[in-house]
Subunit: 419 residues, 3 copies
């Protein structure tokens, strides 16, 4: 996963344009079955309109001696996202009114955009801004903002049913690592994992969209299908650092998506952060909005808005790590495994089964000998058709991982059915 | 409000009789549309019977030298409420068996009644009682207890629907200020407020009754109508002092009346006292009784039974104040405003609306710029038809006052409907 | 009760055999109407099969000098429960592989069984084991393990309805006092109590079964009847010591059985232990299993598994006491009384009734005079058809014992009906 992040890092992506396309085509080298969709500028998507396509080749600020002060080639965060083209000499005062910094983090270049209002601008560190002491500068932004398309990718892997698990990530930020590339890299590996499953109860749907406008566009074309089919979904974002795990719950915190992710994090990473829907900020905003209401949580390590490097040049490849990505991969594959094995289980016979005659219970009865088979005995009590596997795990306070082999032993002995 | 209290204070009211009538007619100077009802003594009202009408002209205790020791003209609490007439010379011992004091509050005259058993008696301070050292006294109570009527007042102000908000207060205590006149004075001003509303969703029903027997009488004549129409109601009592605010919840604490009053007090007076229905003592006893079950809370500042001056001569005009009454008026008008604006709101479009193009959201996206429009964004998420305005306020922890203009902006832009 | 325990103590009982029969016949001296059932070995009962019948006459270990080291006559725990017969000389090493001790309680003989796998063995204290230093010993177990029957007893006492209260205890342990005889002794007295009731709303069903296999056998023959009729039930076990009271809740802790026992213990023994179903260990395992789901709690003083003497020779007659048994009897008769008086009560008239005219409320109204009649007034408010007596008790925080006379006074005055 980390190599993919390294390869994607230098590309200047935005919510439209060739950076997005190039990034997606690199991912498609691993999964050529990802379908690519292009939606024209001007298309109305619910309350929104797809904006013009933006492409950029370069941008710089020079002093009147012709020395380059700020250069897009050094860091593509330097140009305001969606900046209109400009090439002229401007006074220091005018330039400063087009400069964005993050004064409380004076060494870092902030990431700033203006998608829906035409502006030009440069982003830089507070220290760089302080060195702009000449009276005038030559500025140049070599961008185009013109009718084109919004691009997104989608892959559907059919399962035994058309009930769906849904995964969504975004690919629309320039060179940032955790809040950009970690999500697509994890999702690319999860696709491989899902393809490797010997059987799939669920159909899996993976989308790579530009944030906000992309998920809105996708929903405008797929809303009913998603509402009918999606049983649980996750937005993958900021999943590459080595810090805590986090989840952003759905609006009412009661969906299967919440229950499974909470269960996995509770047992395996009990120090995880649980954020309410009030703390949402990525595409779970759209998936959970009024009128959409999909069961989609966000999964992160350090959540967007909550770590200092967020939306700055410090969110670079050193912030993420192979181990950080691997940890997120483990959580999400546990989630998938729990979902695949989930169901409402019911014992086939009244009373406790005689586990002893099947070698599943000690044959000698003495104080202290009961504990080992206790988990199975508890499982049989609560497998009464009223609880799904997640519910039983929560009641027994035993991880789903531990219950799955118990469930399978009982099914082999025809003591258990699933509804 | 305070002037009205001053004017009503000297009148000797009881659950029947001319004191009640005179007080109500003073209130009707402001609202002549209040209808007056007279119900004959002996009428059966559910399990109760309306008692004889009581009127009193005077009462005194004189020593045998003809000096007046205790005089009703000085304080109308001196005569036991509903005392039968008497005029005779009695021994000190017999007199004392008819004297009521509050020994732990030795300077105050207690308020005592015997509505349903015929007795005569005098109330006085413990100090006054200690001075009764003569062997005999002449006592006189110039009262009548005879068939007559129970009086109550009712005003219905129609709204756009026949769903009703219900307000009830009592007017049956002699000269006491907080636990008597504060309620009718507040209600008189609330009637003016409701009349001044440009439009009323609800029909408003205000009643002025004698406590207990009056609300029972009123219910016996209006039960079905009230059960069908009343969506929320409040008993107004002890609302004139400067101390804390209080509410007495309904039996199961789950009605609209509870939710709105709790919400208003929570955000604006978070130190308020929330009493369970087990602490009821005024007409919410009847409105919430088994077989009635109306959604009616009590609203107070210092709740009856909970402040030291309660039911004594110390509950006089100095205990209440214009500011105390004004504060209660503010709470109840906030309650009415919240109820008038309440409803189940639903966004008209899936996904978040594009607030930016309407000037409702910043057009530049940088860390720290999101907060200002966040309340509106949160509102749009929870306006999914599942929550009323009070519910959204509780979830977002934003006062209804702040949400009302947001709701109205969204409605102006046709982004929101109400169900 | 304690005398009955003394008489039953010496008998060597097991899950089948003459010890069980003899014990039951002693109980039947008091209640000859208890019916005795014999179910043949080999009968399939759900997932289980009734094992061969086991009887034992003696068992000993002698050294080669003919001296008896261990003798069943001294303590019938010495022989492994369900031990196959043996009579031979064995090496010390072989003997030790058939010896069971409880090393952390070195002075006590543990109680050990092997019902479903054929073994022979001796149980002894760790100290006794340490003295086995000879090279060889003669061992003898004079038992039979052969087709026969499983025995259980059942008594049904009809009531006015066929709704049932169910009580179950076991009679299958050798000489142990708390975890064996306390349950049957209490149940024997409860039968007398129920027979003495002037009227019974409920039909009462009492069973004396061998633990686990006995309750499974009983359920296999009565499941549908029990599921249709039983409204609440209790497993009685370990009810004879002087320590705390305990209950083991049903699976979801929401049945009438839970609510009543919890209510009684809460008000009368608030320091009681409440165990979840995860701590079950007696026949509530079967009654609460998936596919059975009866509303049956376990009632104990020191719960099985939770006291040190459990399943050892130290659980003898000195561990239980007449007072210990009597305390349990008081709890269970309170439970029965609460259940017999339970119901959904509803006032016959709207508004509060006029309690004063019936002498149920003070006729003089002054601060401080309200409290006495307050419980009745509260009862009338919550007797709205929505709460049963247990629910009202929980809301008012007044014991059911106190509410029963209130309820009866109101019914005498035709102010209350039951649904």
């Amino acid at each position: 996963m980390y190599q993919l992040a390294e390869r994607l890092f230098p590309i200047c992506r935005s919510i439209t344009g060739d950076g997005f396309r190039e990034s997606l085509s690199i991912i498609r080298e691993q999964h050529p079955d990802i379908q690519v969709f292009e939606v024209p500028s001007g298309t109305e998507v619910f309350d929104w309109t797809i904006p013009n396509e933006w492409n950029i080749r370069g941008g710089w600020i020079k002093n009147l001696q012709g020395e380059t002060i700020i250069d897009f080639q050094n860091c593509n965060l330097h140009v305001l996202g969606y900046s209109i083209p400009i090439h002229q000499t401007v006074s220091r005062e005018e330039l400063l009114s087009h400069v964005y910094t993050q004064p409380e983090q004076p060494e870092w270049i902030p990431y700033v955009t203006s998608y829906y209002k035409e502006r030009w601008g440069f982003c830089m560190s507070e220290h760089q801004k302080e060195q702009l002491i000449d009276d005038a500068y030559e500025v140049c932004i070599d961008s185009t903002l013109a009718p084109g398309h919004l691009t997104y990718g989608e892959l559907v892997l059919p399962g035994e049913t058309d009930e769906e698990l849904f995964f969504s990530t975004y690919l629309c930020h320039p060179s940032m690592a955790n809040n950009e590339l970690s999500g697509p890299c994890l999702q690319t590996s999860l696709i491989s994992y899902v393809k490797s499953l010997p059987r799939r109860h669920y159909t899996y749907r993976f989308v790579f969209v530009p944030e906000t406008i992309g998920s809105i566009t996708y929903l405008s074309r797929n809303l009913l299908t998603l509402q009918q089919r999606v049983k649980a979904g996750y937005v993958l974002s900021c999943v590459g650092d080595n810090r805590t795990y986090s989840m952003v719950a759905t609006k009412y915190e009661d969906t299967l998506a919440d229950r499974v992710l909470q269960n996995v994090l509770h047992f395996h990473y009990p120090e995880y952060h649980h954020y309410s829907f009030m703390k949402r900020a990525s595409d779970e905003r759209q998936y959970g909005s009024a009128g959409v209401g999909l069961p989609v949580c966000a999964f992160c390590r350090s959540k967007y808005h909550e770590y200092p490097e967020y939306h700055t040049s410090a969110d670079n490849l050193s912030l993420i790590s192979p181990e950080g990505l691997e940890g997120s991969y483990e959580v999400m594959t546990k989630v998938i495994r729990a979902l695949e094995h989930n169901g409402y289980y019911r014992m086939t016979t009244p009373c406790e089964p005689q586990l002893g005659k099947r070698g599943l219970y000690p044959t000698i009865s003495q104080k202290g000998t009961y504990d080992k088979a206790r988990a199975m005995q508890h499982f049989t009590a609560y497998a009464d058709g009223r609880n799904d596997l997640i519910g039983i795990s929560n009641i027994l306070q035993i991880p789903v991982d531990t219950l799955i082999p118990i469930k399978e032993q009982l099914m082999e002995h025809n003591l258990l059915t699933v509804e």
